[in-house]
């Protein structure tokens, strides 16, 4: 249980969400590498083994392709599996099953078969884990029709997005930025009505729309605060759902502010930021008062040393500079 009032962490919020889901529906089970005895590599599932037992908290071998595929099969067979792939980096080993089976089966079968599966994984850089452990492939997954892709960035969303994801009849991939697990805060109650359709304005503003998701949300909110001190009123839009994108919310914000800066931890080329940029141009071109700016990761595998990793990733000062630039300041 949580200690002081609603004070909790992103990690605990996720754990609570898992408990709720497991208690509410016997078809729900969790599997993944070290989710049981070890307690989850990010400790999300710590303690769950004791309550739910080895049948429902299943430790898997390091066989990503097989256990993700097995999750797909179990969903097809009527269960509601939550598959934790330790990190997005390892999900590449399971990509075939996710993209070629989970995302396609409903369509290929002419709508006969459903894969009501939730796949969770940690994502992102920022911990000096070097090139192979620092990927942000949300944009890749968001490229694939048949998948729904979520990026909870707040404690409320960590608490609230799992239930609608499990209730969804199609495969849902949830990205948890690894830097968010320790995020502390209070649950607002908003989580009870969390949807998996819409973006949310996290800060109202009039002069520039800062559009982002996941781990970059907090850097962006910091930037918005600093911009306010400079007399620039920035709006911060948290996409939350990366596929399908809430284009209406993006366009509405840009129509209001006439300027957009997109912050995305993916590499710039072919990024989700590129897609958002394209949608703005397609649907709000005549509302734009400045070129759209993107703050993305530099085109380099993430280097190990901190100063180089920091330089490679979107950071608050870069966001501020981009926002000022689109305002001609």
């Amino acid at each position: 249980m949580n200690t002081l009032g609603n004070k909790t962490t992103y990690r605990e919020a996720l754990r609570e969400a898992h408990c709720d889901a497991m208690r509410a529906d016997p078809r729900v089970f969790l599997m993944g590498e070290d989710v049981g005895k070890y307690g989850g590599s990010y400790a999300v599932s710590k303690g769950l083994l004791d309550e739910f037992g080895v049948e429902r908290i299943r430790d898997t071998p390091l066989s990503e392709l097989a256990f993700v595929g097995a999750g797909i099969g179990a969903a097809l067979g009527g269960m509601r599996p939550i598959v934790e792939v330790m990190t997005v980096n390892f999900s590449l080993l399971a990509l075939d099953q996710i993209v070629n089976t989970a995302a396609t089966l409903r369509h290929m079968s002419g709508g006969q078969f459903a894969i009501p599966l939730v796949i969770r994984m940690a994502t992102g850089a920022g911990r000096q884990l070097a090139a192979q452990h620092s990927h942000s492939f949300e944009g890749w997954y968001a490229h694939v029709p048949g998948l729904k892709v979520l990026a909870p960035a707040t404690i409320d969303d960590a608490r609230g997005m799992l239930a609608p994801a499990l209730a969804d009849p199609d495969p849902v991939v949830i990205f948890e930025h690894a830097l968010l697990y320790n995020l502390e805060g209070e649950l607002s109650g908003e989580w009870k009505s969390a949807d998996i359709r819409s973006a949310r304005v996290r800060r109202e503003g009039t002069q520039v729309s800062l559009i982002t998701y996941g781990g970059s949300l907090w850097k962006t909110l910091d930037a918005a605060r600093e911009l306010a001190a400079l007399g620039i009123d920035a709006e911060v839009l948290d996409l939350r759902v990366l596929r399908p994108l809430d284009t209406a919310a993006i366009v509405a914000s840009v129509r209001k502010t006439h300027r957009a800066v997109i912050i995305d931890e993916g590499w710039k080329t072919g990024s989700l930021a590129a897609e958002i940029c394209a949608r703005i141009v397609e649907e709000a071109f005549y509302d734009l008062d400045a070129p759209i700016a993107r703050v993305c990761t530099e085109e380099v595998p993430i280097p190990y040393p901190k100063h180089l990793e920091d330089a490679a990733l979107p950071q608050t000062p870069k966001i501020i500079a981009a926002a000022k630039a689109v305002l001609g300041k």
């Binding site: 590498e33 070290d34 005895k37 070890y38 307690g39 590599s41 430790d59 898997t60 071998p61 390091l62 066989s63 990503e64 392709l65 097989a66 980096n89 390892f90 590449l92 080993l93 911990r127 000096q128 884990l129 070097a130 090139a131 192979q132 452990h133 530099e298 085109e299 380099v300 595998p301 280097p303 190990y304 040393p305 901190k306 100063h307 180089l308 330089a311 490679a312």
Partner: protein
């Protein structure tokens, strides 16, 4: 009955035995320093220590020639040191300095060195196996009798990459020595909870590889097994599989509550510590005095201190070159 392990005589030449001991001590001292430096924030990211498993890298790599290639995992400091990459270059890499063996870009999990044919440093479990298979393919195509030694943990044997690589190496008869470091836990999952067939040699044998099993806590046994394997690979041109049964004394990474194993189990294994084990045997056959051991230890300490000083003094790479080495320089 006694708890004391009977002291098997060391059958290797004394000089080699002392070299093996020295390298194990070097690794131990180096990694102890790393653990400390990690605590100080000098080393960041993941740090997977090899403490307890030193006999495997040392025994096996000393069975290789300088022509041979090494492919390792993310727990590879010991392999790199034994292979001959300088402690300075490794420590600087751990610091992320540009004098590191990977110019600071890789860190602990990604040690690389072309001069010693050390191909990393792979942080994706099982990722090194196909790579090693390919390196061996190139040797076969060049008609060289060169061994590619591929180290991996038993956890990797659950990955498809293991099965596909062993099948390919056996099918095409590629000169790979597959060295499995079985430390009983795939991160936190015990072997019996991750493998339907816990006889790892039987798994490899299913792909028609000759196999050996060796006590990975005994550097002499490791060395013998590795020499047998490497000789066979050179002779037949085909692959070989060796399981080294070992144990890591420390956590999987620096953060690990070790909920998955008993402290008493760890203590039991520590009694069989490889340095300990060899030292006692060498002393028993009068090949080593305590003073000689202390001298080896002191030299190792000196080497590590020098490496730390080197890393401390080394420069950081300027941010201006952030995007270099993504492609070949034009």
């Amino acid at each position: 009955m006694s708890d004391v392990i009977p002291l098997k005589p060391v059958t290797l030449p004394r000089e080699l035995a002392l070299t093996l001991l020295t390298d194990m001590v070097r690794i131990r001292r180096f990694e102890e320093a790393c653990a400390q430096l990690y605590g100080e924030g000098k080393i960041r990211g993941f740090l997977h220590l090899y403490i307890g498993e030193e006999a495997v890298a040392v025994g096996a790599i000393h069975a290789l020639t300088t022509q041979d290639a090494v492919v390792a995992t993310y727990r590879e400091h010991g392999h790199a040191l034994t292979r001959g990459i300088s402690a300075n270059a490794i420590m600087a890499e751990m610091y992320g300095k540009c004098t590191g063996c990977s110019h600071g870009r890789g860190g602990s999990m990604h040690l690389f060195d072309a001069a010693t044919r050390f191909y990393g440093g792979n942080a994706i479990v099982g990722g090194g196996l196909p790579l090693a298979t390919g390196l061996a393919l190139s040797e076969k195509l060049k008609q060289k009798q060169i061994v590619t030694a591929c180290f991996f943990g038993e956890g990797a044997m659950a990955e498809g990459a293991f099965h596909e690589s062993l099948n390919l190496a056996a099918l095409w008869q590629l000169p790979v020595a597959f060295f499995c470091e079985n430390n009983l836990y795939a991160m936190g999952t015990a072997l019996a909870r991750s493998e339907s067939q816990t006889d790892l040699c039987a798994k490899a044998a299913a792909y028609h590889l000759p196999t050996l099993r060796a006590d990975g806590m005994d550097v002499v046994a490791v060395h013998d097994a590795a020499r047998t394997a490497c000789a066979a690979v050179r002779e037949t041109g085909g692959p070989y599989f060796v399981e080294f049964q070992t144990y890591r004394f420390r956590a999987h990474s620096m953060f690990d509550a070790e909920l998955y194993r008993d402290k008493t189990e760890v203590e039991e294994w520590k009694k069989r510590g490889p340095i300990h084990n060899l030292t006692n045997r060498l002393k028993a056959q009068n090949w080593l005095t305590e003073d000689e051991f202390l001298a080896i230890d002191a030299e190792a300490e000196r080497e590590v201190r020098a490496a730390v000083a080197f890393a401390e003094e080394s420069p950081w790479e300027p941010i201006a070159t952030l995007t270099q080495d993504v492609y070949a320089a034009p």
